[in-house]
Symmetry: C2
Subunit: 247 residues, 2 copies
DNA sequence: CGTCATGTTGAAGTACGTCAATGGGGGTGG
DNA sequence: CCACCCCCATTGACGTACTTCAACATGACG
């Protein structure tokens, strides 16, 4: 009963979420045909590899992942965390090759698309093509914000920003409960995302725990004092929460 | 003779550059109609304002500019420098509003497009729409690289990276001569781009000058030893120079 | 001729990095 | 069931690459 194991776009549980804009029937129908299949991967699986030219693009349905760049000397830069609803592989889709890798941090389920079909999408579905560009612009916007934080903010602010952004994104994706949101990442991953050393990340986290700003244990993140956390960030960095496209 | 002052897309001097892919006649024709006009601005002019929803999008034709985010406390993050051929305002085009500002650093000439026409572009010209997405992906890729440098590299590497990237981009745009490429920016701008203080940027620049890696004076940048400069960077960060779209 | 913007340089402080050691949990094999 | 190991979190000590403060130089401009 394989077909029962594949989520139909019409029934996609993500589709109903308020963070995503709703689509007319015709476009949903196109997406259903555009969708080449579904895969489930284990934690640690490489979805896309820096420098490669993947024939497949993905939208995360379940589970959490991470995008990162590897430098020659082994240092890493985590670009972003991957949540359900995120589209990954656009670089492979339109450019020569991926400039970063994508890895599953937990078990993940992903929607699979064929890179080769992308052109037909632009020809037949300008509205979805527009949405794809929208997604790219959102990603660019996020990276600009990350650059500003990493470039200008001290360690404490960086950590609060990183965890708060992740927390809010999880909430919008309907993840987590009273015990907080899932956080399957290591402190090393957080450090690599924020341009900090592991040791300093750990010590700053301790300070934030002691001040009751947040709790982070058992792979769960809990923002204990949202108002104080947000007050530590620049008001300019608060993004409006307009519904975004889901491809 | 106003119409003589406006460059026709067919005769656009940028179009012939090898850095840009060539377009079929029909698409060029569309772009000519898509183009709403041209403007010339003075140094210091604000082209796009963070938080605003500009009705106009631009492609730089001549001159140099800068994209930046302003933080509450007055700190700035320079996102990127704007060169001829760069498309600016995509965020305003597809999202609610710009997340950064764009300012002219020298006198500039820009191609003007109406945001309202963007949708017709997607409907009528899927190939150009694809190119637009391509541009967004390039920008995302650049920001990922910048994030990795600012997050992981020491001051000297950051400066070499920033100036080398700018230098190479200028060269591809046909700017500069034996005396080097134009560099109308202040050291403060460079510092704000790389997440360094002005003082430290200055001292690191001095060290690089003394080691004959580069020269920077009279608003001119010259890479005196390209091979040594490139050797200071991660090989992973060398981007392939495939022809990119020009909108 | 003053004022302003930018570049330069020295001195002092500090936020951060590196090094190193410890401890706990979870798996695996004897 | 214990022994061992590996991964990750934690903590202290120490070094340093950076920031901040401050002063001065230079050229452009009115």
């Amino acid at each position: 009963m394989k077909k029962d194991m594949v989520t139909h776009c019409q029934n996609c549980p993500l589709r109903g979420q308020s963070q995503f804009k709703s689509l007319p029937e015709e476009q949903l129908d196109f997406l259903r045909r555009f969708k080449a299949g579904e895969i489930k991967v284990e934690p640690g699986a490489q979805l896309l590899l820096q420098g490669s030219n993947s024939p497949q693009l993905f939208t995360a349905l379940e589970g959490l992942g991470v995008r990162y760049k590897t430098l020659e000397d082994g240092r890493r830069q985590v670009i972003n965390f991957v949540l359900p609803g995120d589209f990954v592989g656009l670089q492979a889709g339109v450019m020569k090759e991926m400039q970063h890798s994508v890895e599953a941090s937990t078990a993940m389920t992903l929607c699979v698309f064929n890179r080769a079909d992308l052109w037909s999408l632009f020809k037949a579905q300008p509205a979805i093509a527009f949405d794809l560009t929208w997604l790219a612009a959102i990603e660019e916007s996020f990276l600009g914000e990350a650059l500003a934080i990493v470039g200008q903010a001290p360690a404490e602010t960086r950590i609060v920003w990183g965890l708060l952004r992740f927390h809010d994104r999880c909430r919008m994706a309907g993840l987590g409960d009273a015990r907080g949101v899932p956080f399957p990442y290591r402190q090393q991953d957080l450090a690599d995302a924020l341009g900090l050393s592991l040791v300093h990340t750990n010590k700053t986290l301790q300070a934030l725990r002691q001040r009751q700003i947040l709790s982070l244990q058992d792979k769960r993140l809990r923002m204990l004092d949202l108002s104080r956390a947000k007050a530590m960030l620049d008001a300019d960095l608060q993004q409006p929460a307009a519904p975004r496209p889901l491809i």
